[in-house]
């Protein structure tokens, strides 16, 4: 038995942090921030919550390097998906002839 057992204290802390994150994101949504900050704040809070779930509830923090690589690969390919598609859509207006 060399499996890492995460203490209950950590699970409770993460659970409370997730609830706080949810409350914050709802409160922030009603406040009118300048520019795109409403979206940025919402996505930042969601990413922090997701990271907490992945690291602690899903034990990635205590997992082998191989699991880390697989998670990182997923994020990397998501980034490619978004970067290439958005770079297409964002640059279409540059063409004077339309598309």
């Amino acid at each position: 038995m060399s499996e890492h057992i995460v203490p209950v204290r950590i699970y409770v802390t993460i659970f409370l942090a997730l609830l706080v994150g949810t409350t914050l994101t709802v409160m922030a949504a009603f406040y009118d921030f300048p520019w795109q900050f409403n979206t940025i704040i919402a996505l930042t809070i969601a990413s922090v919550k997701a990271t907490l779930v992945v690291l602690y509830f899903m034990h990635v923090r205590y997992s082998s390097r191989l699991v880390w690589v697989i998670v990182a690969a997923a994020l990397f390919w998501m980034a490619i998906l978004f970067a290439l598609t958005l770079s297409d859509y964002q640059t279409r207006e540059w063409l004077s002839s339309g598309y």
Binding site: A50, L66, V71
Partner: protein, 226 residues
Amino acid sequence: MEQQREAGTLGMWVFLVTEIMFFGGMFLAYTLYRSMFPAAFASASNHLDITLGAVNTGVLILSSFTMAMAVYFTQIGKRRPQILCLVLTLILGLTFLGIKAVEYHDKYTDRLIPGHLIPSAPFGPAVNEHGKPPDHHKLTLLTGATLPQVEMFYWIYFAMTGMHALHMIIGAGLLTFLLIYSIKGRFDPEYHSPVEVIGLYWHFVDIVWIFLFPLLYLLGRHLEHG
């Protein structure tokens, strides 16, 4: 045993990567259409029930916690609390689906199911007029928003929450299987890969919702009275 457990966890992660790509495509579609129709997306989003959405977020987070605790109690070999945690997780998962069903029904009565998915009630919500007191069953269109664009939001809303709900239903089935096996006493500190692996799946579905909630329910709230 150690190597077997490691292989099982790794296999589940590879499956979850394919799931991330699957949901990733839908998040991409959402991003593109939202950037094209920002006013319509904000208007349509404001019609969603924020209370039910927030409560469901809490329910799902709590269910992730009880799932993590089920894995914990299996690891230390305490069967009764393990079964209790699995039962709680299952009940919370079904609660989520129940609340989701109430929301879907509200959308149905407000004629917000897109296209002709419901032949007797095609998409055609009533719209609040300027200067009159708003009716919360009617849609309030912000400047620049049109109904076909709002319909696009609801296509994406139903595709994403529908696929998420399907994952929840599958998860509830998997939890039932876990429950039967743990009542039979199949899991102990030495062998419990199914609990761990299904736990990973359950947390993944929770993460999808963590992103869906702000992106679908909260995006236009700051524009509601402006």
